[in-house]
């Protein structure tokens, strides 16, 4: 899950080309605007998605951000009836847009430190909101938002009352594969899902096989 409202690429191929187009140029050390223009011209759905992303203000921190599944999934009940869904973790903490002062800061751990301080003040809560698609809503295209009037189900509350460094938590040793799903939940026809599964499997294997460096956020910093 991620804090973007839609994903900027519809297919693995488009995402690959987007990464190439936004890679720093060897001569200038900055992305070449002409390459990005060419990418956006070739993939108009990406241009629309990026415009949509920019029209949404980012939150000031992790604690007041919404996190979205982006990809669609299928929920199947005991009678084999299916609905197509997307989901979001919606914070109880009130939204505050990122300030221009914050976006200019160079302290790499700033967002993590703010989250740690916030959790030490009070537990943080998010609602798991399931959005149910209507016929015709795109299930294979994460660049397009679903209409805002779709049925939403509050499926539960996530409460975070402790925070840990990567050095003491299991997070690094979990493959967050979107297709490791319990019975009753299944993949949609979104082409990004299988690609995510493949790439995450590869990165998980490499991550687990390499020497583990200390986390950028130490256990001491988490106040644990």
């Amino acid at each position: 899950m991620i804090n973007l409202p839609v994903f900027p690429a519809r297919t693995p191929q488009a995402f690959y080309e987007q990464l190439l187009a936004s890679a720093p140029d060897h001569a200038t050390g900055k992305p070449d605007p002409a390459r990005m223009q060419a990418f956006l011209a070739k993939y108009p759905e990406s241009a629309r998605a990026i415009q949509f992303i920019h029209s949404h203000a980012m939150s000031s921190g992790f604690e007041n951000s919404t996190f979205n599944s982006l990809n669609a999934f299928r929920f199947i009940n005991a009678a084999r009836a299916e609905v197509w869904v997307r989901w979001s973790m919606v914070p109880v903490q009130s939204f505050e847009p990122i300030s221009t002062a914050d976006s200019g800061r160079t302290d790499k751990n700033q967002l993590f430190e703010a989250l740690i301080a916030s959790i030490h003040r009070h537990p943080l809560e998010w609602h798991l909101i399931i959005t149910v698609a209507q016929p015709g809503d795109p299930t294979d295209n994460a660049t397009i938002p679903w209409p805002p009037d779709r049925q939403q189900v509050d499926a539960g509350t996530l409460t975070i009352d402790r925070v840990e460094s990567d050095d003491t938590s299991l997070a690094r040793d979990i493959n967050f594969d979107p297709l490791v799903l319990p019975n009753g939940m299944a993949a949609s026809d979104d082409p990004l899902l299988s690609a995510r599964s493949a790439v995450y499997s590869q990165s998980f294997t490499r991550r687990e096989g390499e020497h583990k460096h200390p986390s950028a956020v130490s256990p001491a910093q988490t106040g644990k």
Partner: protein
């Protein structure tokens, strides 16, 4: 037919098991190499790879038990002592890999703390405790053993084809699904007698 003569072919049961395994293994090897290089079809191929691997494991155990209770046909006289030794060793290696690869795959998913999904809600239990370092090691082992199986399979295929097509000793007939008349496999490099018109 009660006889003390050694069989000219493998038992029919063994031949059926052999070809079933051949089809499954070849399918598996191609699924394996395609899967790890695929983005769009990765999920579908992994979903076939897991249960097919377990089916291969079960079939390998059945074949091993079957082999213990079956009389094997002797090697043809066209095979030298070294060739017989190599054939026996490569057979043991093939059996070892048919058992080891699914077990390493199963163990690897267990160590990686993955659910081991067969069909829908049917999952297998883990056979190893969750341990990321063990996972990473077994994942590499799985690839190495898979390539070793591919090479051993090709060597096995090449040896049989060499004997059948070059030496022409009808080695393949020992494993043919149809029945071969006794004695027919014992005449290497010899043309069939053409009945002459009197």
């Amino acid at each position: 037919m009660a006889t003390t003569n050694p069989p000219t072919q493998f038992a029919l049961r063994s031949r059926i098991l052999h070809w079933l395994m051949a089809v499954m293994l070849l399918t598996m090897l191609f699924i394996g190499v395609t899967m790890v290089a695929s983005l769009g079809n990765y999920h579908k191929l992994v979903a076939i790879h897991r249960p097919l691997g377990i089916m291969i494991l079960i079939l390998a155990v059945i074949r091993l038990i079957n082999r213990m209770f079956t009389t094997l046909p002797p090697f043809p006289p066209t095979m030298s002592r070294q060739e017989r030794w190599i054939a026996t060793a490569s057979e043991k290696l093939l059996y070892g890999l048919m058992l080891a690869l699914p077990l390493v795959g199963w163990g690897m998913l267990s160590a990686g703390h993955y659910p081991i999904v067969m069909f829908g809600p049917l999952h297998l239990p883990p056979i190893l405790p969750a341990n990321p370092t063990v996972y990473a090691f077994l994942r590499k082992t799985h690839t190495v053993l898979a390539y070793l199986l591919f090479v051993t399979f090709l060597a096995h295929l090449s040896a049989v084809l060499f004997h059948t097509l070059i030496v022409r000793d009808r080695l393949l007939q020992r494993m043919a699904l149809w029945s071969i008349q006794s004695g027919e496999t014992k005449r290497p490099k010899q043309l069939k007698t053409i009945p002459t018109k009197a």
